[in-house]
């Protein structure tokens, strides 16, 4: 009886107190695809009254969709699940289905949040004019520049939040412990990271004079919370990458045109 009592109010509401059918079709059905005039409403259609081919078609659609739904959800589940028996055995299938468009990663700040700041520093070797010996700049902290732009901004830009940060992640993941690039990803990640550095440098100096750049990554642990007795080293540690010889592809687009124009005038000057 409890069940009955429970359903009473909603049933009453559902019947909208015996509204006439026509009115119900216009008010009760969502105004939309179903048409407020009930023109396209299926509310009054009974499955049983459809012809056999129609019913079969609906049945096939229900079955087919159900199967595909289960497949899709199983793939999503296996993709995000930790390594397990089924996943290991069928990883090829899962990966083939999920990459590239269904790729997802929801380990948000998990299992542990990042506990160290990673900053990218750059220094450049500049040659100003033919015959002069190259000059090396000081280390410039690129990440600090990005962080400055994020701070106190209600809508920070992805170009400050993600570009350099994720480029380093990408570089780090596609290089082995010896710092050698792994395959195509290693190569493009190296170009990408150095191009970002040059892009950011172009605000400070004329990048067309830069012959080589060098990056170093500083890692600094976030100090333990004051209320905890944990003691660890919070001094930055540095990881230097090799010198990178700058080609014209590495320069930002506007600098590239400028350097090309400069080269052209050079040519004209020296026939």
């Amino acid at each position: 009886m409890g069940e009955l009592a429970e359903m009473l109010p909603s049933d009453t509401a559902a019947g909208a107190s015996g509204e006439p059918d026509g009115e119900r079709a216009s008010a009760g059905a969502p105004p939309g695809e179903n048409g407020p005039a009930g023109e396209e409403s299926l509310e009054s259609v009974r499955l049983g009254s459809l012809s056999l081919p129609a019913r079969s078609l609906v049945a096939v659609a229900v079955g087919g969709l159900a199967v595909y739904l289960c497949w899709h959800l199983a793939m999503v589940f296996l993709f995000v699940a930790p390594s397990n028996t089924v996943r290991e055995e069928h990883w090829g299938t899962v990966r083939g289905y999920m990459y590239p468009e269904f790729e997802q990663n929801w380990k948000l700040f998990a299992p542990n949040p990042l506990q160290r700041d990673t900053a990218v520093h750059v220094r450049a070797e500049i040659r100003e004019g033919e015959g002069r010996s190259p000059v090396t700049t000081e280390w410039i902290d690129l990440t600090a520049w990005e962080v400055e732009r994020i701070r106190h901004h209600p809508l920070p830009s992805h170009s400050n939040q993600n570009m350099l940060r994720r480029a380093w992640d990408f570089y780090d993941k596609s290089h082995n412990d010896e710092g050698e690039p792994i395959g195509m990803r290693g190569e493009v990640s190296a170009s990408y990271l150095h191009r970002i550095a040059l892009e950011r440098l172009s605000d400070r100096l004329d990048v067309t004079t830069v012959e080589r750049v060098q990056l170093r990554i500083s890692h600094t642990r976030v100090p333990a919370p004051s209320w905890r007795q944990e003691d660890f080293d919070t001094d930055p540690s540095y990881q230097e990458l090799g010198w990178w010889t700058v080609t014209s592809e590495d320069l930002p687009a506007d600098a590239r045109t400028r350097s090309r124009a400069a080269a052209d005038t050079d040519q004209e000057a020296r026939p």
């Binding site: 008010a27 969502p30 969709l65 999503v76 590239p100 990042l114």
Partner: protein, 474 residues
């Protein structure tokens, strides 16, 4: 004994047998269909109470298969007759369109650096990378700066169209193309929020997300009132003709070289052409079947969206449980102190300065995320958790400086908002909008037309929950 069901459900009187279903609307008459055994009246095969002895305890399995059959039929009736959760899908549509629009407009000054010719992730690098992954992005069809500007601004327009629900079927498709175009052009520019938008943009294409709160709904209502047949729609035909021509062109020129995507776009185009033809020339049973299949696809996509939300929270929560920092209750302290996520140091300091607060937030986050999928079993708990979660995302938006991520997450959570709340909110929004636009309308002399699309949705309380099933109750 029972209130007459809304329509001529012949078995209405026996409902209690089938558990407290709310509103088994409409008579999905359990006439034997091809799939179901003809064993209907579920209450019937009970022991007739003729003998006045103490009746033997009824087996809980009595009539189970009949119950199952009728439940199955009712279920199939629910998922074929209607596109469930019209308000939920609409709010998800609006949420994601708004998030993406805000994002594209905010990044407008940086667009060239992020996705265009000025990107350090140059055309050469991106092409090499995408050749390998096979991701779909029209932005790598050519390195022309003009093409980039065209695609970027088309994506903005698609966001606006989808937000307003203008030609939702077409605009959701262009929206998806826009999202994939920019995100796959520069994969390493995104974060979790972009990932959600990416997935939802694809799922939304398959939902009827313009049933309510849309210009489409308003147009449909007006045309129906004026007696214009739905198929008399030159603008719609023109839009699909243009999209078809664009598709043809991109295939013929070899720009679109992925088989899967060609089949998908071609298939979707044909489906819409077919739908138009069916309505025009075969308005009887073929139209009903086509519409049922459309509803099925919508409902399946809606279910996928819901499961995806659960997957996201479950993954985020369960992996956190394994982390020592989430266990010792200091986890929240760290992101608040990382340079990249320390957008408002003054605020972060207040929170990170209190060990108790950090502990509560850390444990609370894990508990809420892990609990969420299970909370769906109980409407009230679900709603409480939903608002806690949305609140947390608002906090993340400010404290960690991740507004777009948070907006995307909130848009995603919105799929679980209760219909009553959505109707109320829609009604309020409509009223405020009308009050704001009323002077303008009087000026332009178009007062009568100023009934916003909200009107359509909020008009009658009976519009609540056309469907009783899981999506509605959620």
């Amino acid at each position: 004994m029972s209130v007459p069901p809304p329509r001529s459900a012949p078995d209405g009187g026996q409902r209690p047998e089938n558990g407290g279903q709310r509103r088994e609307n409409g008579g999905q008459r359990p006439e034997p269909t091809a799939a179901v055994a003809p064993r209907q009246p579920p209450g019937a095969p009970r022991q007739p109470p003729t003998v006045s002895q103490k009746p033997p305890a009824a087996s809980p399995f009595d009539g189970l298969s009949a119950k199952f059959d009728s439940a199955l039929l009712r279920g199939i009736g629910n998922i074929t007759r209607r596109a469930l959760g019209p308000y939920q899908t609409a709010i998800v549509r609006i949420g994601f369109a708004f998030t993406m629009l805000l994002y594209l407009v905010r990044e407008w000054p940086n667009r060239g650096l992020l996705y265009g010719p000025d990107s350090p992730w140059g055309y050469d690098l991106a092409s090499r990378f995408v050749d390998d992954t096979g991701a779909f992005t029209p932005l790598l069809w050519t390195d022309s700066a003009l093409w980039f500007e065209f695609v970027y601004h088309l994506a903005i327009l698609a966001c606006v169209a989808l937000l307003l629900g203008w030609r939702t079927r077409a605009s959701s498709m262009v929206f998806m193309i826009g999202v994939l175009a920019v995100q796959n052009r520069s994969v390493f520019m995104g974060d979790g929020g972009d990932n959600v938008i990416h997935l939802m943009a694809m799922y939304l294409v398959l939902t009827r997300c313009g049933q309510v709160w849309s210009l489409d709904a308003r147009r449909r209502a007006r045309r129906a009132a004026a007696g214009v047949p739905a198929t008399h729609d030159p603008a719609g035909v023109a839009i699909w003709a243009v999209l078809g021509a664009a598709l043809l062109l991109s295939v013929v020129t070899g720009s679109l070289d992925s088989t899967v995507w060609t089949l998908f776009f071609g298939g979707m185009w044909l489906v819409h052409a077919f739908w138009w033809l069916v309505r025009r020339y075969a308005p009887g049973e073929p139209r009903i079947v086509a519409q049922m299949i459309g509803n099925l696809v919508h409902n399946a996509a809606l279910l996928v969206i819901m499961v995806e939300v659960c997957v996201i929270y479950a993954t985020a929560g369960w992996y956190k449980i394994q982390g020592s920092r989430w266990q010792d209750g200091t986890a929240v302290y760290y992101p608040l102190n990382l340079d990249y996520f320390n957008a408002w140091p003054e605020l972060s300091e207040i929170i990170a300065g209190s060990g108790l607060l950090v502990l509560a937030l850390s444990y609370g986050t894990v508990i809420v995320q892990v609990a969420f999928p299970f909370a769906l079993l109980n409407r009230r708990v679900k709603n409480v958790l939903l608002f806690v979660m949305m609140g947390e995302h608002l906090g993340i938006a400010v404290l960690l400086g991740l507004p777009f991520f948070s907006l995307a997450m909130i848009a995603m959570d919105a799929v679980f908002l209760p219909t009553v709340f959505l109707l109320w909110a829609g009604d309020r929004t409509g009223r405020i909008a009308r009050r704001v636009t009323a002077p303008l309308a009087r000026l332009t002399g178009r007062g009568r037309d100023e009934r916003g699309p909200e009107d359509q949705g909020g008009r009658s309380p009976a519009a609540e929950a056309p469907a009783p099933a899981w999506a509605e109750r959620a």
